[in-house]
Amino acid sequence: MATSLNDMMQTVPQWSDYIRILPEIVLSLFGMAVMMLDAVMDESKSQKALGAVALIGAFGAIGATLYQAQYPFGYGFWEMVRVDAFSIFFHFIVAAVTAVVILASFEYMEVQRIRAGEYYGLILFGAVGMSLMSSAVELVLIFIALEISSIATYILAGFRRRSATSSESSLKYFLLGSFATAFFLYGVALMFGATGSTSIFAISRSLESGNISLLAYAGLAFMFVGLGFKVAAAPFHVWTPDVYEGAPSPVVAFMSTAPKAAVFAVLLRVIFEINSPVPTRMWLIWIVAALSMTIGNIAALVQNNVKRLLAYSSIAHAGYILVAFAALPSSGIPAAMFYTAAYAAMNVGAFAVISHFGGEGERYVTMEDYAGLGKRSPLLAVTLTIFLLSLIGIPATGGFFAKFYVFSAALQANLVGLVIIGVLNSAIGAYYYLRIIVAMYMHEPKQEAPVAPIPMGAGLALAISVVVTIYLGVIPGRVLNYAQQSVSELTPVGQVVSLQAPHAVEARMATNVKKALAH
């Protein structure tokens, strides 16, 4: 805007502005450090050192996020970014996923004989984009953040350079990803045309005041399509199985969780803050959520490749999260946030197991290879079982409360049909997750796939994922309260209707478990 340019000229950023992007600064600095070190170090022995630097960077980002949480919330850089409990929640998810993925990558890179140290730098740069996405409140900044994260993940997907499937996965991800970004950008342009601003709050104010033009509707629709591609919601999901199958497993662990969490953060901001005066968004999200759940779960039934199966399952989980989007903001947003956190923990863990078990060239990824794993490596099998049970939504795991909150939020909004579809889908989902568990414990292997002992890095990554998954399943209260608290600052509506109190749910869960044991 012409006036705000004058305002800008009179001021320079304050110290607080820099604190508001502190995690991003830390991640960028460490990313650049990895790049420079990679350039000067001998390629044959730089791997571990670069990974360690990147790991320090990821923990630094967690520290910076915690520091931000102590600091008063507010805007930075002329209302470009906003630090509040909401953004800190997602920053934390992204930074934690980054750290766990780096831990899981140490051994993987060695086994696959990939020497390029850029890998760790790219993970950190991707994390910069994802963090920025969750705190940005200006559409063009969101676009740039989206691209930073996407471009880094395009390269990461093709990191097994000698493998044809990996480069093919990278190509498909790149083409469909940039197609989606163009849609998002067109939506931003139309929104800019309709309201004369790209700041989410200015847009929201402008839309509240007057009647909403066709341009604004079109802009929102385009933005939704673009973001729908990024979170792999049906009918924009076609790239997901191919990309996840071909990309390196730790990278899939990364890109199926952290960017998705960040894009969901953007979607939450865009849908609930821009669109708050418009109640007609429901049917669109309703359809997309129902389609994603159904297509994802049904297609997963017939998969034999475990990576591909989990890719379809991730489409289904995007659908469950979108159910929360169709609900009221006050209960839907915390439910979606909780789901994102739980999904991040369990999915990163599941892919960490897959990447350890896959071996050189990721040969062992089919259902037959997992047969009899329970005998050969009980620890690995138990870990994977925990993640799969959580993905099903069995009580005492994070996945249970995630689904529970989402569906109860939808019920509060009287979306009975959607909840029925969701519950039916969870039942279908249980079948294919259980297939893996059954294969691990009850089937005799035709040909034994070798299992290497779990090294320290991957072990630590798995341990963190298991602990978080169980923590969210046993004591969900703190995380949920934090999510609810963040909503009160977020929505203009600001009314927080508390979900069913967590301790009541826990009590009910305990009786259910007792009943089940009695049978």
């Binding site: 340019l5 676009f143 740039i144 044809a164 480069s167 190509l171 083409l175 940039s178 950008l185």
Partner: protein, 100 residues
């Protein structure tokens, strides 16, 4: 003075051309060019809206979009070369190890 409407229609047509090209073309490079065409259609509408709202910001966004597009082009062409090295083809229908 050309009315704003004309610019918007042109940018819409450019974007639609890009989408169509993306969907029907089989050569990876052509598909990639279609994406660039989409981005340029968006750029045009940014500039047109900037003129309508008398806001400089719209024109500055175009700079950002251009830079992002260049970065995307660099990465995209590198990926295309990697695919060509393993498959010796630039036809998307033949890049089909992973079934769609």
């Amino acid at each position: 003075m050309v009315p704003l409407f004309y610019y918007l229609v042109l940018s819409g047509i450019l974007f639609a051309c890009g989408v169509t090209g993306f969907l029907i073309k089989r050569n990876i490079i052509t598909i990639f060019m279609s994406i660039e065409l989409m981005l340029n259609g968006v750029n045009l509408s940014f500039v047109a809206f900037a003129a309508q709202w008398h806001a400089l910001s719209g024109q500055v966004f175009v700079f950002f979009v251009m830079v992002v597009a260049a970065a995307e082009a660099a990465v995209g062409l590198a990926i295309i070369i990697a695919v060509f090295r393993t498959r010796e083809t630039l036809n998307v229908d033949k890049v089909d190890l992973l079934k769609l």
